[in-house]
């Protein structure tokens, strides 16, 4: 199907168009989305045939998690601290920082999310290829932190994208982030390709 897109030329036209997108996203996402829980009920009716295949694919997905970073504020430098020489997340195979969301499968979002930034994060999440997970890093990402009551701040990323793992702290220490990643890896290990289409 062909999307006809009228050419937006003048910058005021573009800004009004973007302002409208921000306004209706703000109106539509007042309450948080539910966290994905499909990996919970899967532990009950395991399909014997697929256990080894599940284990193999989950091991592969777990060991090579490629993050795309959606960082806005201070947590950027704690994630960079975590991926630098001292707390090296490359040991877990996460060091390939793919700047393009198509190839990434983990969205690490940290820092204060403002309403003007929300449509960008939503589009980034939708561009990512399917088995994808989200880590909300830092107090601002979980609930808006000390800026939660400001007029332009989204109280938490889960209003915009379903979040898998919350990493507390403002900013969280690199060790906390590594613990969060370890939790995510345990969560991935319980996925099954039988119902691999996650109900987002």
């Amino acid at each position: 199907m062909e999307i006809e897109r009228e050419p937006l030329t003048s910058s005021t036209e573009i800004e009004n168009h973007e302002g409208a997108i921000i306004e209706d996203l703000r109106a539509s996402s007042q309450n948080p989305l539910s966290d994905p829980t499909e990996w919970l009920e899967k532990t009950i009716e395991r399909n014997i045939l697929l256990t080894t295949v599940d284990a193999a694919i989950n091991w592969a997905r777990k060991t090579s998690l490629w993050p795309v970073t959606a960082f806005t504020a201070c947590c950027t430098f704690e994630f960079i601290g975590a991926s630098s020489s001292r707390f090296d997340i490359a040991r877990f195979g996460m060091e390939v920082l793919r700047a393009s969301p198509r190839q990434a499968d983990l969205l690490v979002c940290g820092g204060t999310l403002t309403w003007k930034m929300a449509p960008q994060i939503k589009r980034l999440y939708e561009q990512m290829a399917e088995p994808k997970w989200v880590i909300a890093m830092g107090a601002c990402a979980i609930s808006g932190g000390i800026f939660h009551d400001s007029y332009s701040v989204v109280p938490g990323y889960n209003h915009i994208v379903p979040v898998d793992v919350y990493v507390p702290g403002c900013p969280p220490r690199p060790e906390t982030l590594l613990a969060g990643i370890e939790n995510l890896r345990r969560k991935i290990a319980q996925n099954s390709i039988k119902k691999s289409g996650t109900k987002r």
């Binding site: 201070c74 630098s84 700047a99 930034m117 007029y151």
Partner: protein, 367 residues
Amino acid sequence: MTLATEQFILNIGPLHPSTHGVFRMRVTMDGETIQDVEPVFGYLHRGLEKLCESHTYKQNIPITDRLDYVSAINNNWPYVMAVEKLAEIQVPLRAEYLRVIMGELQRIASHLLAVGSLMNDMGVFYTAFMYMFREREKIIDLLEMVTGQRLLYNYMRFGGVSMDFPAEFIPALKRFLNIMPSYLDEYDSMMADNEILLSRTKGIGILTPEMAVNSSASGPLLRGSGVKWDLRKDAPYSVYDRFDFDIPTGNNGDCYDRYRVRMEEMRQSIRIINQAIEQLPSGKEKVMVPLRIRPPKGETYSQIEAPRGILGCYIVSDGSTKPYRCHFRAPAFINLTLLQELLIGQKLADAIIIFGSIDLSMGEVDR
């Protein structure tokens, strides 16, 4: 003859690997050269100044930490100095020295990050960045020894600082100050005469001194173009007039000079800290001040030389426990007025380098 090429609009968007945060430039390009730049701010606008109006004076200190989160201690300084000037609080001498030492340590860490990410934009695949971050981790260990935090310290209070140095801090600081100059020489030898780095930064993004002053740039951007203006020397606050150090300035204001100014400033900061350690007086590290301080009615402005430029804080108080108005003069925000002036006519690859050499942190730009 010129080819009839069609221009196209490219979004160097909020989530770009080298925009140092969420900053968006709507760039109209003709092939690789940039015809027009339209910066879009506000992706990290947390309404910080409105927030300051609804919190008491002491609650605002952690909020100022989040302003320029790369050098968090320097953000508290102007806010705390302004309230002290309003409420006439006398800061003990030892507290001033503690503030100078921590402020200068934070300046080295911030410059390390600025130069490291400039190397990243140039394509050195994270190697220079990792080595600079290794040094920054050493400084963060020192700061954590005093404040217990890694990035946002909430260190300064009205009338002094929150915690004195623990016993093992000064020896650790001395060890760090001995090895740091050798690391800086190592970076210089690796990068300063690297042929590709020279050809990528020399003569690119030239900023004339008149234009720099006229567009109220400050910090390494201003000193890179040869204007010798540093608040620590020209309008000395706290105890800076007791140290002798010199102000590095570039001569033709291109990206290479800004790189040299930042490297040189790190060496000067080491000199300052060494002198501060020798002259460190004994005494209390802070004066007891009531928790819900009520400064008298009035307004003050105080400013310091933050790593990115002149960071000022303008407070209006109406005698209540909450500031009536609290405005921060953010150097990175004002340095960005030069964006069109510097980027138009450059190639895309150069624009990324020039943008990296301006060195901004978005918390300060959008407040």
